[in-house]
């Protein structure tokens, strides 16, 4: 049966619940696992009609809109970065200030991704399996970083962990401060991808394993972990991509010190301010490339997880 009535082919339950305000769903997560069931409907015809061709005018509007707002502008960035040829591009991204901001961004984002992998899974576990009093409040709180403007997040972090820190912890103008800001804005990703999978996890499996003699540690390592691993990986990748592109929350707390706390987005901003558009476009292209790689990796991960069941 032709695969045309779902949004895309990879119908994975991985992130079936588009969970929270502003959660970027994993690409292709719009269709639910139901989409897959429908496709295999045994009646010889799909339950969702798939024969209709899209009306040209509607399709035209959508394509035009995306082109004017997203595609042409992004293409212009890449095109502009290549204006000075390969050597010009290479020169722009290897200038000490640019390369140090890129290195900081990649390093901090990797660190943030790892912390999220651990803490996000722990939080999801707590929300699903631990009947904590006030769990519903906690559950709502997790989405706060998505709803809160990034500049406000930055202001809040600077207020607590700044020069006049009420808790005596001054992280302002330090790399640690940047990492904390990135941790703040990426908090929900792993939680919101792992949580639905944990919720749907069949408890019978764990009971079966226990009845076969597995102790809780073995059950966790050999039954639960393999099942939530794809979701953990997806959430971590999303957190990484977000950290790579973060701007607003780092502006205030980092102090934008070149070679020390300046992340790539802030570097691009500064280059733009000083009219070095070519330099800005080159670094932007590197960031775009990394984002693309992460998105493609996510798509592959989804397909792999989807095939596995």
């Amino acid at each position: 049966m032709p695969d045309t009535h779902t949004v895309s082919g990879a119908g994975v339950t991985l992130v079936e619940a588009t969970p929270a305000p502003g959660v970027p769903p994993v690409p292709g997560a719009a269709e639910t696992s139901r989409g897959r069931r429908r496709r295999s409907a045994p009646t010889g015809r799909p339950l969702v009609s798939h024969g209709r061709r899209a009306p040209a005018i509607g399709l035209g509007i959508v394509v035009l809109y995306l082109s004017l707002v997203v595609l042409i502008p992004l293409a212009a960035v890449v095109w502009r970065s290549g204006e000075g040829g390969a050597s010009g591009f290479w020169h722009a991204v290897t200038r000490p200030e640019a390369s140090s901001s890129l290195k900081l961004t990649i390093g901090a984002s990797l660190l943030v991704a790892v912390v999220n992998l651990v803490m996000g899974t722990a939080i999801a576990w707590l929300l699903v399996r631990d009947r904590l009093p006030g769990g519903a409040v906690l559950d709502t709180l997790i989405d706060l970083p998505f709803a809160l403007p990034t500049i406000v997040a930055g202001l809040a972090l600077l207020t607590v962990y700044g020069v006049k820190s009420p808790v005596g912890l001054n992280l302002a103008y330090a790399r640690t401060g940047v990492v904390v800001a990135l941790l703040f804005v990426t908090l929900p990703f792993v939680v919101r991808t792992v949580q639905p999978v944990l919720l749907e996890l069949d408890r019978d499996m764990e009971e079966a394993a226990a009845s076969l003699g597995a102790n809780p540690t073995v059950v966790f390592l050999r039954i639960i972990l393999p099942n939530i691993m794809p979701a953990m990986a997806a959430g971590t990748a999303l957190a990484f991509a977000r950290a790579m592109s973060e701007f607003g929350s780092t502006v205030l707390i980092s102090g934008n010190l070149p070679f020390k706390t300046q992340v790539a987005s802030v570097h691009i901003f500064n280059q733009l301010e000083s009219d070095n558009v070519g330099g800005a476009a080159a670094v932007a292209t590197v960031l775009l490339l990394v984002s693309m790689l992460v998105l493609v990796a996510l798509d592959l991960l989804q397909r792999w997880a989807g095939r596995r069941g």
């Binding site: 009535h5 779902t6 949004v7 895309s8 588009t18 969970p19 502003g22 769903p25 719009a30 269709e31 639910t32 139901r34 989409g35 969702v48 798939h50 209709r52 061709r53 899209a54 509007i61 959508v62 809109y65 995306l66 997203v70 502008p73 992004l74 722990a122 707590l126 631990d130 906690l138 709502t140 709180l141 706060l144 970083p145 709803a147 809160l148 403007p149 990034t150 500049i151 406000v152 997040a153 202001l155 809040a156 207020t159 703040f184 908090l187 977000r242 790579m244 592109s245 973060e246 607003g248 502006v251 205030l252 987005s265 691009i268 901003f269 733009l272 558009v277 932007a284 960031l287 998105l295």
Partner: protein
């Protein structure tokens, strides 16, 4: 033991990262009473910033709502070549840094570009004015309505729509009387998400607006500008309004979240 350790770690982490910072912002705002807060929010600059934010948000959310419903219907109900690509493109804005969004728009619609010059001849200016800020906000919010509506469209299936057409309803009547009521909740959810995101956008707006105080300054730009000019009272007051808006949006979105998505 493991359980207690886990609880303590998680709660400490969330307190340090989320609760404490937000609480301290509120404390800073109100520690000398409500009067100064109201005065800080009543200044012409603050009022103007709120107005600019409202205008930009209104147009951006309106445009993305119409686009979102159309795109979701196309993706779920129809077949066309390039569907996978379109689907991937819709999520792309989430992975793009806000500063790059701004840069990208400046490169196409800026005053020194061909497009910008041509538009200027028609008397339209985009960058450093409201249309550019709307474009930037539209860019960052593109996926929100589509991704809220599409799963619900998928879930309800098209039998009700087919039933309506056998009863004589044309496509617009079917949309208005059957599809729209069915996706109402999901649409409202998507709109709230888009609203919250639009109100809070900073990076892309910072680039395309030129940050012209009193002309293109939004609330988020106001917070940053006031803080760096040592007018902490105004910065914290405006930040608190944004926190309150975010919390309200969060609560509303919880209520609206389509049942199929809620757990």
């Amino acid at each position: 033991m493991v359980k207690v350790g886990l609880r303590v770690t998680v709660l400490a982490y969330l307190t340090m990262l989320l609760v404490l910072p937000v609480a301290v912002v509120l404390w800073h705002t109100f520690h000398s009473g409500v009067g100064p807060v109201l005065r800080a929010l009543g200044t012409p600059a603050a009022a103007h910033a709120f107005q600019i934010t409202a205008v930009v948000t209104f147009y951006a959310v309106l445009a993305n709502t119409l686009f979102g419903v159309l795109a979701a219907i196309l993706l779920v109900r129809y077949r066309f070549p390039g569907k996978r690509v379109l689907n991937a493109l819709i999520d792309l804005p989430l992975a793009v840094s806000p500063v790059i969004v701004g840069l990208a728009l400046v490169l196409v619609y800026g005053r020194t570009t061909g497009t910008g010059k041509a538009l200027a001849q028609l008397g339209v200016s985009i960058i450093f004015s409201i249309p550019g800020m709307v474009l930037a906000t539209v860019f960052v919010c593109i996926p929100l309505v589509v991704r809220a509506v599409a799963p619900v469209l998928e879930e309800i299936g098209d039998e009700q729509e087919q039933a309506a057409s056998t009863l004589g309803a044309g496509s617009w009547q079917t949309f208005r009387r059957i599809t729209l009521p069915a996706i109402r909740g999901a649409l409202a959810y998507g709109v709230v998400l888009a609203l919250a995101r639009s109100l809070g956008e900073y990076g892309a707006i910072a680039v395309v607006s030129g940050r012209l105080v009193g002309r293109t300054q939004t609330v988020t730009l106001f917070v940053q500008e006031r803080y760096q000019n040592f007018d902490q009272q105004a910065a914290y007051a405006a930040a608190t309004v944004l926190v309150a808006t975010a919390v309200i949006a969060l609560l509303i979105s919880r209520l609206l979240r389509p049942k199929e998505l809620a757990r």
